[in-house]
């Protein structure tokens, strides 16, 4: 029991450090996790890491959180998951709290306002880039492209006319369609092998 707690605290510190120095999201964290956990400490094998990445990308939530929870639970069960996740979250939490305290006052300055109007343009570009990367991972089957097109047209209309229609419903519809198509494939005895 004591050993579990000590190990979990080590996980906490590791993930705290990783999170503090990872800018740019989960993928950057992957490289560090491979180095620290697979190469240096042997907490995971490379195959296990790949499995974990696949799972993290198939579940909702930030990659970083998913990874921390998974690695933590594999090492020392619930306590490990809890402390690892806490470690990932804490640096952001503290830094953002500090920034939030000063933000309102900072926004009064002309220089800051001007900077932010430029930053907003950068954000637009970043979203576009994220969209493009996601587009590349999309299997280019007719039905996925149709769904993409429909969502784009549909959600654009919703946003343009300020209709109050939550993206959650769209996501649920997508999930159902995807599931239905999969079930349909099984039932028509389609032996086509799905490769990732």
């Amino acid at each position: 029991m004591l050993k579990k707690i000590k190990e979990s605290l080590i996980l906490f510190l590791l993930f705290f450090k990783i999170s503090l120095f990872t800018f740019g999201g989960g993928l950057a964290m992957l490289a560090i996790i491979e180095r620290e956990f697979v190469n240096k400490r042997n907490y995971l094998t490379a195959e296990e890491l790949m499995d974990m990445i696949a799972i993290s990308e198939s579940t909702p939530g930030p990659l970083a959180i998913n990874m921390a929870t998974y690695i933590g639970s594999r090492r020392t069960g619930f306590i490990g998951a809890l402390l690892a996740t806490f470690g990932v979250v804490l640096p952001s939490f503290i830094i953002i709290l500090i920034i939030s305290l000063f933000l309102k006052d900072l926004m009064e300055y002309e220089y800051v306002k001007a900077a932010f109007s430029g930053i907003n343009c950068a954000v637009g570009l970043l979203i576009f880039i994220a969209g493009l990367s996601l587009f590349k991972t999309l299997p280019k089957k007719p039905w996925t492209l149709v769904m993409f097109g429909l969502t784009l047209a549909g959600y654009f209309t919703i946003v343009y006319f300020s209709f109050n229609f939550s993206p959650v419903f769209l996501i649920l519809i997508g999930a159902s369609v995807g599931l239905t198509i999969e079930v349909f494939k099984r039932h028509t005895g389609n032996k086509e092998v799905e490769t990732k």
Binding site: F23, Y70, G178, L179
Partner: protein
Amino acid sequence: MNIFWELFKTFFLIGLFSFGGGLGMLPMIEQEVVLNHNWMTAKQLYDFVGIAESTPGPLAINLSTFIGFEQAGFWGAALATLGAVVPSFVIILLIAKFFRHFSSNNYVKGVLNGIRPIVLGLIFTTCIKVVFTNLFSGFGFKADLNFSWQSLVISLLLFIIYFLFWKIKNKKIQPIPIVILGAILGIIFHLF
């Protein structure tokens, strides 16, 4: 209505449905935070996304902490962040324990193949909205449109720089340099 419970609930929902990375959450966050709860304007949200992209840690956590803090101080931040984290935490624990072969399950793959195009559509719509808001200070049927030539120039410059860097050096620029560049260009074009 208890603000703490609202924050937890809202971010729980957001956390439960975020696929496609931090920016994939943005449409959901806009829906819940801006439209449903009026906790901030869309522009304030985008401003903060800029900051959140430049600070360490997952975008989702940065956003939930900030929005929670704005609404209800430290405990608001704590509960919003907790809400965002709990769905992932629980789901991953369950999978780690019972469903190791979760990601190779064909039905799971099917569901994901269904969700991805939707998320993509949401992201691109949000992208269009953000770009429009930058250029015209508003977006939508009833919006008041105010063109900003500075935003057009800055956006084009950023895009060109990103594109050239990619083609010439064959590497993609990281988010932080882009944000910093945006900030500098913003100062140059708005104040000089």
